[in-house]
């Protein structure tokens, strides 16, 4: 159990990147990018976990009860916002790309090269 969550993190990163590299449709590719990013949430929350500890909320739990790390949770929240922001922007590019190129296959979305 002590490394299993991190193996899952590495696996999610790998399949996510595989998806980005092999995708033939921009929206599909953007979804794969979301998967890549999701590996970071699992990693963040995984490194801050303390076995047996409570969530860092002390509304109905006495203060100073051992709790898991609140910092990584705050970082993961920021991460979720970044995900939403980048995805929205990429999707707006995809909409315009579809208008200009008539396709969303990354291999055909080429205007400048060399």
């Amino acid at each position: 159990m002590s490394v299993f969550p991190f193996v899952v993190v590495a696996w999610i990163l790998f399949v996510g990147l595989y998806g980005v590299v092999t995708s033939r449709h921009l929206v599909h590719q953007i979804v794969c990018l979301i998967v890549v990013q999701s590996s970071t949430y699992v990693l963040l929350l995984g490194v801050g976990y303390v076995t047996g500890a409570v969530a860092p909320y002390f509304y109905d739990v006495p203060v100073h009860t051992p709790a898991v790390d609140p910092i990584v949770q705050a970082l993961a929240l920021t991460d979720v916002v970044v995900e939403a922001a980048v995805t929205a922007l990429l999707l707006s590019f995809a909409v315009q790309a579809h208008k200009r190129f008539g396709t969303l296959d990354p291999h055909e979305l080429v205007s400048l090269k060399g």
Binding site: V27, V31, Y49, P56, Q73, A76, L77, E83, L91
Partner: protein, 96 residues
């Protein structure tokens, strides 16, 4: 293993039970990520992403992070799939 021992509080769920839950959810999340990447049909992929978002949210709950669970549920499982579906509706027309 680290020198730190697991802590115990009056609110602690039995560790074995918690671990079983976490392992199950981790396996499901790994499978979910793989499914999201491998599904080629766009609409189905977005639905898979939504399910994946729910799985992640449950995993975060098991990681004692209810705040992130709430965000992941609202963003990852609802808003992003909705926005993706709207985009797909826009780009679908000429593909068919």
């Amino acid at each position: 293993m680290s020198a730190l021992a697991a802590v115990h509080t009056p609110y602690t769920v039995p560790v074995a039970m918690m671990q079983a839950l976490q392992v199950t959810l981790l396996v499901l999340v790994a499978a979910g990520a793989t499914a999201v990447v491998l599904i080629q049909d766009r609409v189905r992929q977005v639905l898979a992403l939504s399910v994946y978002g729910v799985l992640l949210a449950l995993l975060f709950l098991a990681f004692q992070a209810p705040d992130v669970t709430l965000s992941e549920l609202t963003v990852g499982a609802v808003v992003l799939p909705a926005v993706l579906l709207i985009t797909l509706a826009k780009v679908r027309k000429s593909e068919e």
